[in-house]
């Protein structure tokens, strides 16, 4: 594998996490290719071969709709995330594509200070390698099927 691929993928993951953790939702769709897919699911549904997503978007317009709705329609208590990522495995598929699996923890911090381990799981990604790598597909597989109150900000 080209020695630059692993750090390039890890940089993409890190930039993605920082954007969400800093509340820069408008930047979120741009981490995906024009037709990029984003899906949050649970390990249980995945293992049982059940297709139900918790959240699903196909292409940047749908990703932007999610952001627009979070900004202007949905009501949720002020909150922040802190993403912690580890164990990033990268496999180069060809000159232009890579596959990545990474572990994540997402901690949710409410305005009151209440801090909760909100989600843990795996990112399973297909990435287009270029000057600025992007997700062609990002599947977020949550370890637990249980979600506290609501899932507003994407994982």
């Amino acid at each position: 594998m080209n020695a630059e691929v692993q750090p390039a993928v890890e940089r993409l993951h890190a930039r993605y996490a920082h954007a969400l953790d800093q509340g820069r939702l408008e930047d979120w769709p741009n981490f995906f290719t024009q037709n990029g897919r984003y899906r949050i699911t649970t390990a249980e549904n995945e293992e049982r071969g059940l297709p139900l997503p918790v959240l699903y978007a196909e292409g940047r317009p749908m990703l932007r709709d999610r952001v627009q709705s979070l900004r202007h329609a949905n009501i949720y208590e002020p909150q922040r995330y802190r993403h912690i990522m580890s164990s990033v495995l990268v496999e180069e598929l060809d000159n232009a594509h890579a596959r990545s699996v990474a572990n994540f923890l997402v901690i949710r911090i409410m305005e009151s200070g209440d801090t909760l381990l909100f989600a843990s799981g795996r990112y399973v990604d297909r990435i287009v390698l270029s000057e600025e790598p992007q997700y062609e597909e990002r599947v977020v597989i949550c370890d637990s099927s249980r979600f506290d109150t609501l899932l507003a900000i994407p994982l």
Binding site: T42, L50, P51, L52, V54, I75, S145, F147, D148, L150
Partner: protein, 407 residues
Amino acid sequence: MLQRTWPAEGLTRVPYWVYQDADIYQREQDRIFRGPTWSYLCLEAELPEPQSFLTSFVGDMPVVVARDAEGAIHAFENRCAHRGALICMHSRGKAERFACIYHNWTYDHSGNLLNVAFRKGIAGKGGMPADARPESQAPKKLRVQSVHGLVFGTLSEETASLEDYIGPDILPRIKRVMIKPVKVLGKYTQVLPNNWKLYMDNVKDTYHASLLHLFFTRFRINRLTQEGGVFVSNDGAHHCTFTRMIEDQGDAYEKDGMRSAGSGGFKLEAPELLEQEDELGDAVSIQILSLFPGFVLHQIRNSLAARQVVPKGIDRTELHWTLFGFADDDDAMTRRRLMQANLVGPAGYISMEDGAATGFVQRGVAGSPERASVIEMGGSSVGAGDSRITETAVRGLWKAWRSHMSI
């Protein structure tokens, strides 16, 4: 003994102690969940073959739901006769019998105690006396009945048949959705930081939808100006509300200066997410149906789901969502249902606020158990109507609740 008195105004006031009081919670478990009501357990489709089982709840009480070798569905308390341990620790599977892990007492698919390990001891030593009656503490058995593929259980001999319990106003609205065999698309659980009744009265509150869930109105998807209506069963216990598919071009929200008005020209860039096929043939875009005490069936465009409301203490409730389609769905319909899954659940465009709003009530009333909700939209009665600017179904919930609780 409880010393609680309902406000003199009647059903237009709901005192906040109903969401806070530990004695009330225990009495609800006894009189409502373990009393003469039917609790939703699962879909028949979740028990696909003989000897399939899953674990579920009736209020606090854990239950096993299982098909026997002949395919009949049974349900029994998930509590071993011996020491009270869970008989079954798995959420689903297939089993010839159930064995408690603690001392290996075994049960059949209807909860009958089959075998007590070393009951007669070994080589004449140990074991139980010949007149011991461990069966006297056997797990409770539920009466089980299904309606259109939905499985319910009750612990009371007094409960009317399931169809009579649901009644002639609501039953046809279940049949309207459950028109053929279903297939499960997946499940998840939403944990709500509030009393279970706050979720049930949210579901029955036809007035809140377009005011709390701004996605509806911002993108002009559902407004109270659209044609719709509400049904409530005679005893107030169950309800059904619906909205027709006609697009609203009016400006009632704008005239009232509503926070949820569609100002700012918001439009979805990818509205195909919402495209509905009128598969039920009656041009209804949304139908929300609830059965007392804790079941909700929804059709939101082509999203179909059963929601089971499981109380987990005074101020904690689990909402178990099971989304489904029909067994004969083609790929395009499955895709539509998965797209529209974005509308519901913990990340749902039009449902994520429910957990927040009901949690806000739980927190807001912390210092005022003696104060009460004002529930006067649509007057003081409980009944059907063609306006959804009403709280008639919420009053129905409290009518039924008070009757069960003798409060």
